[in-house]
């Protein structure tokens, strides 16, 4: 249970505070309600590039990182398809420095051509390092456009292509800031050794005078119901054949989300999960298997991946996976197996409640989803998932026409060739 207090400023900024006096630190999290889904299809990767620019100096403070480090702080940020999230932790007595820094960069950035050019290079290297220069690294680049046709989830946060990053202009940076970086589009949360009244006072002092701006209404195209299975086979210089199956699911806010999440756990969370136990350890078809849900705010995906041992026929491997999925759709889970996956969720959740940074992040994220207090209802929602519900959700997800299937074939000296398979 994470207790919290909430306050809003007239300019629209929402503030959440959780007091935890077991730590000498304080964590500050600022979530901006903008992600890769809000990008222009010709400028993908922009939200993430912008995240880099947020560290390149603001109106009154040229050196964000150095000032924070001077106060003993550490920080980072990440961009998803839905949000851009900035977080830091510092000794609690220096909390006001975080307010000074964060409010100044919400007030305005010190844009320059040079800084934009440098950060474009940094992001291009990030693109190469994480996606292009390692085996299977481009899975995200291939899978998203296969699974989504019109929704902006069809590109990854790093962007569709390096050229989109290279072509970004300073004027576009200015417009993006104006549209998305203002109090009404942000949620501030603080957790740690702090006094809520003091946090609200600091918020008023540093953020209160920032002008409110109108938050643009999102008008994203809904992804139409998939009526036919999509398949893609690529040839790469990879050591093993890899199979990825991705299925459309509900959104994070849908009542079926918790059952969907548990399905991915039944499949591949822990050594006793079905894919690991049966197909990796017992039958030895795969050297590794994985399953996860994207948990996105618009309808997401449940992704299953497996790396095939030499000699295993990919067609057969896919059939085997389909059989496992049919089992989930065909019969209810036993009591103990369901209890097991719920117990795993409980441990993860309880451990996150001992971490002041995780608590700050969670409060802001659940507030974005409607109300910070939703965080404290999660355990109950998982607990209430019944075997019948799980089966019903599985039956809805694991159908042939709901799937996007990607095969990485070991290339025989051919590089980068892609084959679309009907």
């Amino acid at each position: 249970m994470v207790s919290y207090e909430k306050h809003s400023l007239p300019n629209g900024l929402r503030i959440l505070v959780h007091r935890d006096d077991t730590t000498p630190m304080a964590a500050v999290n600022i979530l901006y309600n903008v992600g890769a889904r809000d990008e222009d299809p010709e400028r993908t990767g922009f939200a993430h590039l912008f995240e880099h620019l947020m560290f390149e100096g603001s109106k009154n403070i040229p050196d964000y990182d150095r000032r924070l480090q001077h106060a003993g702080g550490e920080n980072n940020a990440f961009t998803t398809n839905d949000i851009t999230n900035y977080y830091l932790s510092l000794p609690a007595q220096n909390l006001e420095v975080a307010f000074w820094l964060e409010s100044d960069r919400m007030l305005g950035l010190a844009f320059s051509e040079e800084k934009l050019a440098t950060q474009k290079n940094v992001v291009v290297e990030e693109f190469r390092q994480s996606f292009l220069n390692q085996p299977y690294g481009d899975a995200g680049l291939l899978l998203r456009p296969l699974a989504y046709e019109i929704h902006p989830y069809r590109w990854p946060t790093i962007g569709k292509d390096i050229s989109h990053i290279q072509e970004a202009t300073l004027e576009e940076v200015r417009q993006f800031f104006h549209a998305h970086y203002h109090p009404g589009n942000a949620i501030l949360s603080v957790s740690g050794n702090v006094i809520p009244e003091e946090v609200f006072r600091l918020a008023g002092k540093w953020f209160g005078e920032l002008p409110g701006r109108k938050t643009p209404q999102r008008k994203l195209p809904a992804e139409p119901l998939q009526r036919k299975q999509k398949r893609l086979v690529v040839q790469r210089e990879v050591p093993q054949h890899q199979l990825i199956m991705s299925f459309h699911t509900c959104s994070r806010l849908h009542p079926d989300f918790h059952a969907t999440d548990l399905l991915s756990d039944v499949l591949a969370n822990g050594d006793s999960s079905r894919l690991i136990r049966k197909l990796v350890n017992h039958k030895k078809y795969f050297s590794e298997a994985n399953a996860y849900v994207t948990g996105s705010l618009d309808p997401g995906q449940l992704v299953i991946s497996a790396r095939l041992h030499k000699g295993v026929d990919p067609v057969h491997a896919e059939e085997i996976l389909w059989k496992e999925l049919a089992l989930l759709a065909g019969e209810p889970l036993g009591e103990r197996e369901l209890e097991k996956v719920k117990n795993k969720v409980e441990t993860t959740h309880t451990f996150s409640e001992s971490n002041h940074l995780a608590k700050a992040m969670n409060l802001a994220y659940y507030e974005l989803m409607g109300e910070a207090g939703l965080l404290n209802l999660q355990m109950e929602k998982y607990a209430r998932v019944s075997p019948e519900r799980l089966q019903k959700v599985a039956a809805g997800i694991f159908t042939e026409k709901n799937a996007s299937v990607l095969h990485y074939e070991k290339a025989n000296g051919i590089k980068g060739k892609e084959i679309i398979q009907e």
Binding site: H70, Q93, Q129, P239, E288, K415
Partner: protein, 425 residues
């Protein structure tokens, strides 16, 4: 309007929330330390055995022995063990290293009793069944083959071999064929020799149920867990590798991995604390000279850093990055410039001030809560150090001068004595 030109005042932390560990020696020779704290019903039990790959007779034996503790015991199959762990929401961390092996479990306090029983079972009675061993090796071999396609991984293994030599366990480069032909007898023997209470310590941290001590004693203090003598470890002479440059071409690479560094010493060396501060200034945090120059100013890389690694019998220093192939030479030159600068260009008042504040807060962070403190305690116990050693670091941090930092860099991180590995194009 709020005055935004003046930063709010800051204050350094003057006290560390140190939890004094409660230590007990069990009858069979196992040392147990309790670190109590935290408000949630969560805890961690970690056993550290003072033997790792350094102690093995054949490649990968320490690794396989540790990773397969849960692959089957006298009473339980692999399936039963993993089901029991998962059912109680616990996760096992099996972490074989060069000098030590660590077996940890994170759990909710309410499941302590069954999980301790399970821990006892897998630590004392593992069977390392042949079939599970073969499956494991085959799967790990695939991961190894994939890693051989990563420039960063290649640079790391080549570098270790260069500074320690292939005959030394610290430098040995695992080969694809090492995953073949291993017998379970080697694992049983490694387990028999080194997984002994007298060769181990245990740290129990978190919110501890009232009966923790008693339960632990009954499960892990048992006399049947051999109290016999532990053999003395093998001795491998260290080589003096000098300085060399190695370039491995990987056609088709989009980035080159660069690793520059040298053999050094570990945290028990008298110059260690000062060198650690100099290293942080060079490449130990985002504000470091390498990061500011090579990422923030030049845009050559997504990240660059430098590290001091402490092994039990030695230690080493390295700088590591991945850069676009077109700027490989330029980036390498800048790295050497910064190494040169570390011994010739004094830290400004502001640079040193920021470094000091940042590192002292980081030190505080490393004592934040019982789990963080258990990491510190583990480090002290492995290296035979006490809390005074940690306090000495803070004293050094608060008093060190720019001249002293240049001097220590000149003594140990001179740009002429480096080993250089580049993998890519």
């Amino acid at each position: 309007m709020t005055d935004r030109s003046t930063p709010p005042a800051i204050r350094l932390t003057d006290s560390i929330p140190f939890i004094r560990p409660q230590s007990h020696l069990l009858d069979n020779g196992l040392t147990v330390c309790f670190l109590e704290g935290g408000s949630e019903d969560i805890m961690k039990i970690e056993l550290v055995f003072l033997s790792g790959s350094y102690h093995q007779n054949d490649p990968l034996v320490a690794f396989a022995t540790t990773k397969l503790l849960g692959a089957g015991t006298v009473k339980m199959s692999q399936e039963q063990i993993s089901e029991m762990l998962d059912y109680h929401g616990a996760s096992l961390q099996l972490n074989p290293q060069k000098d030590i092996v660590s077996v940890g479990i994170h759990l909710l306090g309410k499941h302590l009793r069954p999980l301790l029983g399970l821990l006892q079972e897998i630590l004392l009675q593992p069977l390392f069944p042949a079939e599970e061993l073969q499956t494991f090796l085959k799967n790990q071999q695939q991961i190894h083959i994939i890693n051989q396609k990563k420039v960063q991984h290649l640079a790391m293994t080549i570098f270790n071999e260069l500074i320690y030599g292939e005959a030394h366990p610290y430098g040995y480069r695992v080969k694809t064929e090492d995953f073949e032909g291993m017998e379970r007898e080697s694992l049983l023997q490694f387990h028999r020799n080194w997984f002994r209470p007298a060769n181990a310590f245990c740290i129990v941290s978190g919110h501890l149920p009232a009966n923790t001590g008693k339960l632990l004693e009954s499960c892990l203090g048992s006399g049947s867990w051999g109290a016999s003598e532990v053999a003395s470890p093998p001795v491998y002479p260290l080589i003096s590798p000098g300085s060399r440059k190695v370039f491995l071409e990987v056609p088709g690479s989009l980035q080159s991995a660069i690793r520059i560094g040298k053999q050094l010493f570990n945290r028990t060396h008298p110059a260690y604390h000062r060198l650690k501060i100099a290293n942080a200034m060079l490449g130990g945090y985002f504000g470091s000279r390498l990061m500011q120059n090579i990422r923030q100013d030049k845009g050559f890389t997504y990240g660059i850093g430098s590290n001091l690694v402490s092994l039990l019998r030695n230690g080493y220093f390295f700088i590591s990055t991945q850069v676009g192939t077109g700027v490989r030479q330029a980036a390498t030159n800048e790295i050497y410039k910064e190494l040169h600068g570390l011994r010739t260009r004094p830290a400004s008042h502001s640079e040193l001030d920021t470094l000091r504040n940042y590192l002292s807060a980081n030190f505080l962070r490393s004592f934040d809560g019982p789990f963080a403190q258990s990491e510190r305690l583990k480090e002290r116990l492995v290296f035979g150090l006490d809390f005074a050693h940690d306090e000495a670091y803070i004293k050094e941090l608060l008093s060190v001068t720019p001249e002293q930092l240049m001097e220590v860099a000149g003594n140990y991180l001179h740009e002429d004595g480096m080993m250089e590995v580049v993998v890519g194009k």
